[in-house]
Point group: C2
Amino acid sequence: MTDAILQMGRQARAAAYRLAQLGSDQKNTILRAMAAALRHATPELLVANALDMAAAASRNLTPAMLDRLRLDEPRVEAMAAGIGQVATLPDPVGQIIGSWQRPNGIRIEQVRVPIGTIGIIYESRPNVTSDAAVLCFKTGNATILRGGSEAIHSNRAIAAALQAGGTAAGLPEHSIQLIPFTDRESVAVLAGMDRWLDLIIPRGGKGLIETVVSLARMPVIKHYEGICHLFADAHADLAMAVALTVDSKTQKCGVCNALETLLVHRDLAPGFLPCVAAALRAKGVELRGCDTTRAVLTDIAAATAADWRTEYLDLILSIKIVDSLDQAIAHINEYGSHHTDAIVTDDAATAGRFLREVDSACVFHNVSTRFADGGEFGFGAEIGISTDKLHARGPMGLRELTSYQYRVRGTGQTKGGKALSANG
Amino acid sequence: MTDAILQMGRQARAAAYRLAQLGSDQKNTILRAMAAALRHATPELLVANALDMAAAASRNLTPAMLDRLRLDEPRVEAMAAGIGQVATLPDPVGQIIGSWQRPNGIRIEQVRVPIGTIGIIYESRPNVTSDAAVLCFKTGNATILRGGSEAIHSNRAIAAALQAGGTAAGLPEHSIQLIPFTDRESVAVLAGMDRWLDLIIPRGGKGLIETVVSLARMPVIKHYEGICHLFADAHADLAMAVALTVDSKTQKCGVCNALETLLVHRDLAPGFLPCVAAALRAKGVELRGCDTTRAVLTDIAAATAADWRTEYLDLILSIKIVDSLDQAIAHINEYGSHHTDAIVTDDAATAGRFLREVDSACVFHNVSTRFADGGEFGFGAEIGISTDKLHARGPMGLRELTSYQYRVRGTGQTKGGKALSANG
């Protein structure tokens, strides 16, 4: 198995060199062919998925996991439509980030280029096979996909359709490879082959990410949890604070940009808490509060220390009353996951301090946390939301799947032939 | 020891939050105070360095290592002058990378912010203590420094001077911390504390970098070796090809952007090889060639397979004759270290293909490889030359020591209150 995976790595590197030379039009033609092939393969995809669903039935998967695993015609159509959409997006590769001339006459260009080879390690949702491979391909990267055992038949069928459709339209061989092994050892081999893989992106639960982080020798872009906060400041508009809290918590609660902890300034609490509690309860939200909160909302459960560090992904909200902006910021920086945090206030200076001092990828003023999303940011496509600070932070679009290169042109300049440099 | 290092990590995180809020003027004032303190501490630094030099004498260090370890008045002055220079550079923190408004009215700003906390693990040269800490501070990052045992007295004295001078001018406590332990275990503790360190930059030999890469849970920016190539194309100007080869190889041979392998187009070889060999030998360079090269230069040694993967850092050059541009590109992508590679040619199309298809951080046309340098690129300061593709590639200046954050301002927008989004 190790040799087979290393061989895929060598092949991916070779494919990456060919991919880097494709023009945008060629890539878009290939993308449209992949979309058509996926639509055409719908019957095969549904048969393959039925095998996975049958195996899942004997594995005690939760209803939510079964739903993530399931393919039907609308879901296949959504995958294919997603590919067509990616074909319409601007291609960042080849873009000149900056160019300048030095006093000695050399001319420097910083140009966007593909990263090279990207490993995607993911769980359950088979559409990741298509979504991730297509975004990596659009940006000229070769991908090695390693999905979970629960979706192996579906993943194989999707990859085969993309490869067949793409190849007929000029997709370089080995641009998109799916690892046929689903054991943990295959992750270890991938994570160790930094010669062949420039980047790994794990897509899945915290356990999977932890495993990849502890094994990987190459960079990993992590999409850890979203423990998102909303701080209702003393100078918040009451109605807006209620609306944004309810939207952030309940518009969709199982996602990383949903609200998990509500912080309330003590001066706002008496008027605000009863209103927001009523609105949240009307949506079925369970509330847990600090002692001060429970002095106002006497019938809610106590939040324990663990609550402040919990991503519920469910209709549960923890509430804490704070004495000041400083205390709100300190709580978020200490207990949050540096994903997305919002303030509701009419005071511009307070908002400014919150946006500057909260150490999160997305900091929002008078906006629902649910807008932390590549689509909402206007990126057109999203490979995920990075909780890292290096390379990519927050919503990741196509641009974040590129690197850059310095291309320098001169007329024979030598270092020895010029005046002494300080950097000698 | 573990607890002490973890405590330094916690302190660094707290310091980073304070550092992120300092204005550029405040930071520059602190930098000038650190420079003055370093100058003032020259006698103490020389005493401390004498202890390291005495210990080194009994340790069988090479003359080159002893030279790297040694401090004298000009070297201390150079460190202090370097700090003064950093104070004059533009501060990237707070720069708005982009800003745009969405159809729903929310306004998005992508703003440069410090990375946070950076660990620097380095060997021998004590000036790294000052250089790295100062560049990290200028960009609002807290640093934890872990130097080698051979320079521990010098490193302590330098860090103490920077801390004392800085603190008097308002440097937040724990902004610059030096780990007093120099054993391998201390590296393992640093590499494991991804909660407290956002990034590790190892500065030293391949063995050190390998160790950090295999242990680190957080991103590592690597400065691996530079196996740099120059390709003298069939359409090269002979005199320019000779001048650039000699400069790239001999202007300073112990550095990562020096030339290690010369590739020569077979059509150029008969006229070029004797000229370049004579010029290189006049500078004392030992030549090793492929069989075809040795048919022209009959008195040189044979290059073995290992030569193509060797960073000599010495007056040695391997030479290979290739049949085509394709073969040159393939050799570089296979055997090079993706650092800096140059072509000499008068043919623009050939140069264009070389620059696009060689997968290296710096690709040069008619320029000496020795210009791959932050100073030569106009960055003002350089923390190193990254051989990674993520976050920073090639010469790294201040900008590469920053991350970014999305600051979003709205007027109460909710996701549920708007038309259905495709990314919902």
